[in-house]
């Protein structure tokens, strides 16, 4: 489980996050949602330590992350897998080398063991016979799959996904969402997904935190989000004409 307590973050004169607190449980897909520029990605970066908040605390299964020294942080980060918005695959390495990279750097496994593990996770995300391809030679959806494979290749406890289906068609988005949810259940990891995609929200939102203008406005799940009663959240959900029609029919 990951707990965040009173996270506040400012960039220059602009405050991005205001006193955000919450809990993200293990074994379910936790979503942080909200409109663009509302602080979702900044919150995620605060949680993984890429951005340091001015105030607040992040606890990984009770272990204080922000106050930890560099060595402790490095150790805790080795339990983390992250899928970035653009995949963040290393351009100079092929798919196999990309996925093998965390094993090369963080384990003492033999070459054979690493290769088995890589083929195993690539198979798990539905990629076969792409080992020697370069990132520039595969599609956006495949890059995301490789990103997921790289994130889970080590024995991780925490999985973070920053807008995993941005730039993908609806069908591929659905497949990526389902893959993230399946992996979360299979590996029993604490997963946090940042998204503004309503298909993801309704499809895999087992726990949802809604942010608006840097504040946490609502928490719940996909079953009760449509009847939240929060005007701001409803504006976000029912923004399109199609969703407005749907709302009327509810």
């Amino acid at each position: 489980m990951i707990e965040i307590k009173n996270i506040s973050k400012t960039f220059g004169d602009t405050q991005i996050l205001y006193d955000v607190s919450g809990e993200f449980k293990r074994g379910i897909t936790n979503l942080i949602i909200g409109a663009s520029g509302t602080g979702k990605s900044v919150l995620l970066k605060c949680i993984v330590g890429l951005v340091t908040p001015e105030e607040g605390e992040v606890l990984y299964d009770g272990r204080k992350f922000l106050q930890a020294d560099k060595e402790e942080k490095a150790q805790m980060r080795r339990e983390i897998g992250m899928l970035f918005q653009g995949g963040a695959l290393f351009d100079s390495k092929n798919i196999e080398e990309n996925v093998m990279f965390p094993l090369d750097m963080l384990t003492d496994m033999s070459k054979g063991e690493k290769l088995d593990r890589v083929n195993n996770v690539l198979g798990r995300v539905g990629l076969e016979n792409v080992n020697k391809k370069m990132p520039s030679e595969v599609s956006g959806g495949m890059k995301k799959r490789v990103g997921i494979a790289r994130a889970i290749v080590n024995d991780i406890n925490y999985l973070f996904c920053d807008e995993p289906n941005s730039g993908l068609d609806p069908k591929t988005s659905l497949l990526i969402d389902e893959l993230i949810q399946e992996i979360t259940h299979e590996l029993n990891v604490t997963t946090i997904v940042v998204t503004h995609d309503m298909n993801s929200v309704m499809g895999i939102g087992e726990h949802i935190m809604y942010l608006s203008k840097g504040y946490k406005v609502w928490e719940g799940n996909s079953d009760n989000i449509l009847r939240s009663g929060e005007e701001d959240l409803e504006d976000f959900i029912f923004a399109s004409k199609f969703m407005k029609k749907l709302k009327k029919s509810l």
Partner: protein, 243 residues
Amino acid sequence: MKSIGAYFIFLGSMFVRRETFSSYIKLIISECNIIGWNSLLIVAITSTFMGAVTTVQTAYNLVSPLIQNYVVAQVTREMVILELAPTITAIVIAGKVGSSIASGLGTMRITEQIDALEVMGINSISYLVLPKIIAAVLMYPLLVVIAGFLSLYGGYLAGTLTGIITESEYIYGIRISFNPYTVYFALIKAVVFAFLISSISAFQGFYTTGGALEVGVSSTTAVTKSCIAVLLADYLLAELLLN
């Protein structure tokens, strides 16, 4: 001043929480190939012409019955070894390698590849920058030695083919009153310049923010700052080691 402070903190970060030695070996070899081998052609071309032009221009300026022909080769040797081979090659390398380092790291920054390393618990500065600096410090003195030889050979070709100087006069000129310390001095300069170019370019690239436009800006800034640093270091080293 703030960015000078940040630069020293950046350099210090390379040496804390390093990865295992074996993980650097492959990277250093790869960087040696990029910085050394891939720069060989441009260094060979510039240094050969540099030597040729130096010989021709020196001969043009030393027209006197009191000055013997071999002095042209002697002057060429001193200019090439002391200044042209290490410094002009450094400017060329700053343009080629410095911009490549800055744009490579800048692109890694804006495409979140550096963030990916950090999230894995890897010291990204140490992992990405240290091999580049080690490779530059190893390879650049070799490039300077090659540049020196090719400049002298370029001078020889230009001098003998145009009839400015005979073969034997040129050979005599580059051997007479030779002080080996000038070679050591050139190699010391080479190590310092390599460190400055690679570290300044890496610093500029590593802290790129924004998009593709800013990567270009980082690359240009890296070359500009590297050249200024090289010229400043050139003067300081001359003051310190020659006076």
